[in-house]
């Protein structure tokens, strides 16, 4: 089997003009025939729709200036896919994190969400970054079980929020993670999505611009190990003028013949007619370590105005470069170390930006595991 790579400008997904609902019954049953699910092993998702479910635990560690409460909060998120609606409908209560106006916490806000084995479990977090606040947020998603999680980010005017989000699940885990962000005027989101392990993981980070001058950078690093399916679908939805989005995801695929690794990256960018002055760029690079792995990469740009500052994309999937390996080995470096240096180098620019040392270290450790 050869490594398959796609770089197609697929059918526009038209997410904003499709169904939006918190009720899963409003969506068609999940099927691989639908564009939104055509890369996903849909049979595995059944566990997320079984009737019985539990609440996932959410732990928090925040500075005193930040309030964490549990409340029946509607939130702003209106799901655009069936799993988003399933998670939303199963999380009437949310963990609400309020960062007051102009608050600049001196330590990161840490949230831990665990999916235990047994019934699929669900959690919803709402983070409200007050106007002109500046905060660092770290969210980890761990456990050996399955479930759905929503992390909603509301950035008020002029706020700056940096999110580092680590997904580190079990080989049998099936998880749907939605990270919808709503950006008011002049707010700045810096997000680092690190997905290092999980049987079937589908991460959907979305940015809706609700005020001009907002700026979002979505960086992502994923490592697909044996039998893992890691899927990321980003959407930046430019509905107002003069906003910026920069999406950069890099993936490494390991695995083996019996348990191939699989990744999917879909980068949707919508620029509406009135979103003049938009500046957007998206990139996905994948490094496959063997011929059994498969990476799909599909950038979709839908542009309704010609009056933009820039719109670009790049997508490439490649094998480990034999000439690079030979060069390092010809200097006495063994093959495993040489491969590790090259693959670490591939991730280096992304990991260097990750504010959480601990989470970046976990990515490096996981890389070493997959390369071993």
């Amino acid at each position: 089997m050869t490594t398959a790579t796609t770089h197609s400008h697929g059918v526009p997904t038209n997410i904003t003009s499709g169904t939006r609902s918190t009720n899963p019954a409003d969506f068609e049953p999940i099927s691989a025939l639908q564009e939104a699910w055509r890369f996903t092993p849909v049979a595995a998702l059944a566990v997320l729709e079984q009737a019985e479910f539990a609440a996932a635990s959410v732990t928090s560690e925040v500075p005193a200036t930040v309030a964490v409460t549990t409340a029946s909060h509607a939130g702003a998120f209106l799901p655009a896919d069936r799993l988003g609606a399933t998670t939303r409908s199963r999380t009437a209560e949310a963990t609400v994190v309020d960062i007051p106006r102009e608050c600049v916490p001196d330590t990161p806000l840490r949230l831990g969400i665990a999916l235990p084995t047994g019934l699929p479990s669900y959690a919803r977090v709402i983070v409200n970054a007050g106007a002109h606040s500046q905060a660092q947020l770290e969210v980890s998603l761990t456990g050996q079980g399955s479930g759905g999680v929503i992390v909603e980010l509301n950035l008020d005017a002029g706020s700056q929020l940096t999110l580092t989000q680590l997904t580190d699940l079990g080989d049998e885990s099936v998880a749907a993670l939605h990270v919808p962000a709503f950006l008011q005027r002049d707010s700045v989101l810096r997000s680092h999505t690190l997905t290092v392990a999980g049987g079937v993981v589908r991460v959907v980070p979305t940015v809706e611009y609700q005020g001009p001058g907002a700026d979002a950078e979505l960086a992502g690093a994923f490592i697909a190990g044996p039998g893992h399916h890691l899927e990321h679908r980003t959407l930046t939805d430019h509905a107002v003028p003069n906003c910026r989005s920069h999406v950069a995801y890099k993936g490494v695929l390991g695995g083996q013949a019996q348990q191939p690794a699989r990744s999917v990256w879909i980068g949707d960018v919508l620029i509406h007619a009135n979103a003049t002055g938009t500046d957007t760029y998206e990139l996905n690079r994948n490094l496959v370590l063997n011929e059994f792995a498969r990476a799909d990469s599909v950038p979709n740009l839908e542009i309704e105005t010609g009056d933009i500052a820039g719109a670009g994309h790049a997508s490439a999937t490649g094998r480990l470069d034999d000439e690079q390996v030979f060069y390092l080995m010809s200097r006495g470096i063994d093959r495993t170390t040489a491969t590790s240096l090259i693959v670490s180098g591939f991730f280096d620019d992304l990991l260097a930006q990750v504010p959480s040392e601990e989470m970046a270290a976990r990515v490096r450790d996981r890389l070493a595991e997959v390369l071993a």
């Binding site: 000439e323 010809s330 006495g332 090259i342 280096d348």
Partner: protein, 255 residues
């Protein structure tokens, strides 16, 4: 003293679905302290010889031996050959994005020496070697060969050679594409290592120019995958005056 013996080496590549023999019985012995120049026209198989000795997977050795002090290099992996004391300075060094020169050099030095150099001593050693090759210290924090000029790439190769201190160095057209200043710096680097007295050098080149700065003890003319003539430095002078034509014609008549 060490010896590198190449005995009746035959090497093929797979190209366009067929096997093509490039080296057709190469015999050569290099001893510590010696500089051997291998000179030949384009397509004569000079680079194939260099890469075959280093163990590049593209080349298949169909018969023959490469012995370093009696040990068969051909049974070793690429990294084992380097640790046994072989160094290949490449004509086209590869870019390795995201891997810094300092990390690369220290990892290589640790592998070849069998233990990681102590940080403080290593920094001094590296700075001194870089200074001797007129390299800026900022060089160490750049990514391996990424965005390097032709001259920088070749200096970087010679820097590695000095730090890894091989028993035998194979320089594959290290002189090509260099301006006179860079050629002098690179030549001084080669001579400095040679003067330590514990290396044998195989200098592969198309041009006689570098031989004004690096004096060979032996000159071998390489045509059609074989050594067709051998001599001292005077042979290089003859090549300078009359080119490879005579040797190519003779080889053509013999084949």
């Amino acid at each position: 003293m060490s010896t590198l013996e190449i005995r009746d080496l035959h090497v093929s590549v797979t190209a366009d679905g067929g096997e093509r023999e490039i080296l057709r019985g190469v015999n050569l012995t290099v001893a510590t302290g010696e500089i051997h120049a291998i000179m030949g026209p384009n397509g004569s198989g000079k680079s194939t010889l260099a890469y075959s000795i280093a163990g590049h997977p593209k080349y298949t050795v169909t018969s023959g031996e490469v012995l370093l002090d009696g040990e068969n290099m051909l049974e070793m992996s690429v990294d084992e050959r380097a640790r046994a004391g072989l160094f290949l300075a490449m004509q086209y060094p590869v870019e390795v994005p995201g891997v810094s020169v300092s990390n690369f050099l220290r990892t290589a030095a640790a592998a070849v020496r069998g233990e990681a150099p102590r940080v403080r001593e290593w920094v001094g050693e590296l700075n001194e070697a870089m200074k001797s090759l007129s390299m800026d210290s900022a060089f160490a924090s750049r990514n391996v060969n990424e965005g390097f000029s032709g001259g920088e790439k070749k200096r970087h190769e010679i820097l590695q050679m000095q730090l890894l201190n091989p028993k035998f160095a194979v320089l594959d057209e290290t002189d090509s594409g260099l301006d006179v200043d860079a050629l002098k710096v690179v030549s001084e680097g080669v001579n400095a290592l040679q003067q330590r007295g514990n290396v044998g050098t195989l200098l592969i080149t198309h041009y006689t120019r570098i031989l004004r700065y690096v004096k060979p003890d032996f000159v071998h003319v390489f045509v059609g995958g074989q050594i067709v003539a051998e001599g001292g430095a005077e042979l290089a002078e003859e090549l300078e005056a009359s080119g490879y034509e005579r040797f190519v014609q003779q080889a053509g008549a013999a084949l």
